[in-house]
Every structure is written in structure tokens, then in C-alpha cells.
Amino acid sequence: MKGVFLKDLYITKSNLLVVVGNLVVLGFGVSFLFDPGAILVLAPAAAVTPVFISIAGDASSKWNKNALTMPLSRGQLVGEKYLLYGLLAALGPLAALLPCGALALAGRPVSPQSLWLYGALGLSAALLSGGISLPFAYCMDPEKSQIVFMLSFLVSTGIIAALVVLINQLIPVKTHLVPAFLAVLAVSLLCFLGSCRVAIEVYRKRDVT
């Protein structure tokens, strides 16, 4: 899997630099309108787009077909994309913390609670939408799977709202914001891991030509 991961790092490197640059600039911009930590909601979603570019690129360059003749299993190929997605989803908030840190040093109020809250919310949305859309990337053409990726953010927002309502039955969310959204994040992570198993099964049954 190390070789495939290295290949994706080579390919996503230039996209990643653009994403990180955008997040830093956007972070400063957003801080004039909202809480500086609000950029953490967008950061994971923005950071994972290179994964879809990489999946589409693998199909168009016939790398998929070639890789399946190498000592690599279909599970490893799919698992690597999920690993990359997870790492980029985590890297996005880290990049977005740079403007937050700079603004805090400049004297703008940045509360750790809002960072946890927005971070957990952004990561949950990214993991849920990845969990929904990644299996489709292995059974649909690249254009359709991009549409599924965009729609999946709408669906994941609905799922998060439903989870918050459900958690509110157990603990009052208004007074326990951070633990409630960390619980949402934990559920999202489980869904993401479950989705990985589904995508591997989908890809195992798929003819690759």
C-alpha cells in the first residue's frame, strides 16, 4: 500500500498546496465576518477534494487496471483512498488553525470551545459525505460520482441534524455542545469505516477494463 500512497501523494501534492493556501486566505477572510474558528467547518470538505480527483485520474490513466496486475489487492487500493481521505480531512482543520492562531496572537478572541465545536462539525460532515460518496466513486463514472460527492454534503448535514436531535434525548445539547458534537464525530467515523468495507466489496465485484 505504501507505493500506491506515494503515487497519490505525488499526484495530490500540487492540489494540496492550493487547498492549504486557499484555507489560510479564506480563514483570514471569514474571521472578519464570523468567529475565526468557523473556517474549521469548511476546511475538511475543502481538503478532501484531491481524493476524488485522484480516483477520477486513476480511472482515466488506466492506473486502476495496471495496478490490479501488480501485487496489490482490490482491498488495498480502496483502503488507501479511504486512508488518504481521512488524512486530508484531518489535515484541512490543521491548515485552518494557522489563520486562527495568527488571529489569536493578534488579539482576536478565539475560544477553544468554538474550535472543538467547529472542528468536530466539519470533520463529521466530511467523514459522513466521504462515507456516502466514496463507494459510488467505484461503481459510477467520474462525472456522476462528483455529483454524488456534492449531494452527499446535503445528506450528511441532515444526518448530523438527526444525530443531534437523538443525542438531545440523552443529554441536553445546548449545555453540552462539545461532548455532543464529539459523539456525532465518533458516529461519523464508524460510518466512514463501514463505508470502506462496502466500497471494497463493491470494487471486488466490479469488472475493471
Binding site: 507505493g3 503515487k7 499526484i11 486513476d58 488506466k62 490490479l68 496486475t69 469488472d207 477494463t209
Partner: protein, 284 residues
């Protein structure tokens, strides 16, 4: 005789195409050419043999094993027509990637092959011509010392000089008796130069699977008029084509045809002509 690849009764059904019970084998130390017109089922056969598509029926033994596991893949080199690697990567980066995939990857062999083909190491593939990309794919396929090399239409669209370079490389490869090559192509002249056996596919079926020397040294084209044709015994010919002034008749044994029909002109048949007569010729 040991076989690097044995395919038997391979069947795959699509809505508009059926690969119908294809059987072939690649003896160790030989080059087998898989020929057939576009859409005959060559790529489908290779894809099914490599486990890229699920087969409906049939068995595949690759390097003595019936499962396409990592041990088999480690000894397999594959080159597909067109792109094989992402075009933003350079040969150097591809080398670093493959080094972490193949346990038997040989950096010095890879560098030596790149030098031999005069390929730039640090240029991205998007700046490569089709011939250069194919040379790179072959270098990458050979650099982990495979025992079986499978090439799917790897020479199509290449100029004669690049094709000749690739064919020389394949001939070098099979100098080791443990090495074998299965190459699909519709450029039969390439296979006439290098193949030991020819498998001819037509409409998803194997029409024949023969030693190349048997085809080029025994098969012939008998040229005759209608009256002469009517005098031929049915067992002496395979198919014929009506031309403007003559009939061209494919005969399986040209020496026998010369002896039996001394007034007819019998010339050697190329693989192209044999394929053409099998596909477009009349048999009744």
C-alpha cells in the same frame, strides 16, 4: 511441457458479445501471439485471464497456480495499450512508486532500461510521445524480473522503428527459457517476426492455435479459376475468396497442393492472408 499460462473454456457473456469457451496456452520459454480483428475478444481474454473481469466459466492457471494471488502478480509483467501510468508522474517517480509495490523491484535494471530506450528520467509522462510511454511501460514491466510478460495491443499505433525496438526487447526477454510472452496484436507482421505460436480469435472463439512455423511453412494460397476450383477436393482447402480474375484458396498444405494440382499456382500465405481468408472467405 511446462506452461506459463493455461486458459481453458474461458467464457464471458456481454449483452452484445460472447467470449465462447476460449482455450489457449503459453508454453514456458515461448512467445505466443494472440491475433484477431478488432472486437474479436483478444482484450477480453487477457482481462479475464488477469482477473480484471469476472469470468462466467472456465479455468485459468497462471505460472502453475489457479489463483491470481500476489505471488503470481510478483512474477507477472503487463503492458496495456495506451496509458499505463498517471501522466503527471515522471519515470523517476514511477520507479520510486513501483519499488514499494514489487519486492523484486530492481532499480539498476530499471535505470538501465530507461537509458537503453533513451527515456528522460525527470520529465512527466504528459510530455512523452506514445512510443516513449510504451517503452516506459515495458521498462517498468521488466524491471521486477517477471517470468511472464503479457502485452495487450502494445505495439498498435507505434511507428515501425519503435515497434522494432520493442520486438527486439521481447526476443531478448525469452532468451531465458523460464520467460514467456503472450502478446495480443492485430499487426500480424510483428508476430510473424517474433511469435512461436499463433492463436487466432474470431468473434469470441478460437479459430486455430498453431505453431507459427506450421502456418508460414505449410499454409499456402492456391490461385485458380472457377473450373480449376471446382476440381479441387473439399478436404484440400479451408476457405476461398472470389477476386476479380481468380479465386484465392487457402490450403493447409501447400506442398501437397502443388503436387496434387500442378497446373495451379500455389504461393506461401502470410498470417494476414490466413486471417483474412478465415474471416472473410467462403467455406461452402
Amino acid at each position: 511441457m511446462n506452461h506459463a499460462l493455461t486458459v481453458s473454456g474461458l467464457t464471458k457473456t456481454y449483452p452484445d458479445f460472447v467470449l465462447d469457451g476460449v482455450s489457449l496456452c503459453v508454453p514456458s520459454g515461448s512467445i505466443v501471439g494472440l491475433i484477431g480483428e478488432n472486437g474479436a475478444g483478444k482484450s477480453t481474454t487477457l482481462h479475464a485471464a488477469l482477473g480484471l473481469i469476472r469470468r462466467d466459466a472456465g479455468q485459468v492457471f497462471l505460472l502453475g497456480r489457479d489463483a491470481m494471488d500476489n505471488a503470481v502478480r510478483e512474477q507477472l509483467g503487463v503492458v496495456f495499450d495506451g496509458d499505463n501510468y498517471p501522466e503527471s508522474l515522471s519515470p523517476a517517480k514511477i520507479g520510486r512508486v513501483l519499488k514499494h509495490i514489487y519486492r523484486t523491484w530492481d532499480d539498476s535494471a530499471y535505470s538501465s532500461l530507461l537509458r537503453q530506450f533513451s527515456l528522460p528520467v525527470d520529465k512527466p509522462l504528459r510530455q512523452f510521445s506514445k512510443g516513449m510511454r510504451m517503452k516506459l511501460a515495458l521498462s517498468a514491466a521488466l524491471a521486477h524480473h517477471p517470468k511472464l510478460l503479457i502485452l495487450d495491443e502494445a505495439t498498435s499505433g507505434l511507428d515501425p522503428i519503435v515497434r522494432d525496438d520493442l520486438l527486439d526487447m521481447l526476443l531478448d526477454f525469452v532468451q531465458d527459457e523460464a520467460h514467456s510472452v503472450l502478446v495480443s496484436s492485430h499487426i500480424t507482421s510483428d508476430l510473424e517476426k517474433i511469435a512461436d505460436y499463433i492463436v487466432f480469435l474470431h468473434e469470441g472463439r478460437v479459430v486455430f492455435s498453431k505453431a507459427k512455423d506450421e502456418l508460414t511453412e505449410r499454409y499456402g494460397i492456391l490461385k485458380c479459376g472457377t473450373a480449376q476450383f471446382d476440381a479441387l477436393e473439399r478436404e484440400d482447402w479451408i476457405a476461398y475468396r472470389e477476386m476479380e480474375y481468380e479465386r484465392q484458396v487457402l490450403v493447409p498444405d501447400r506442398d501437397r497442393a502443388r503436387r496434387k494440382y500442378p497446373k495451379a499456382m500455389v504461393v506461401p500465405a502470410t498470417i494476414d492472408e490466413i486471417m483474412l481468408l478465415y474471416v472473410k472467405g467462403e467455406t461452402q
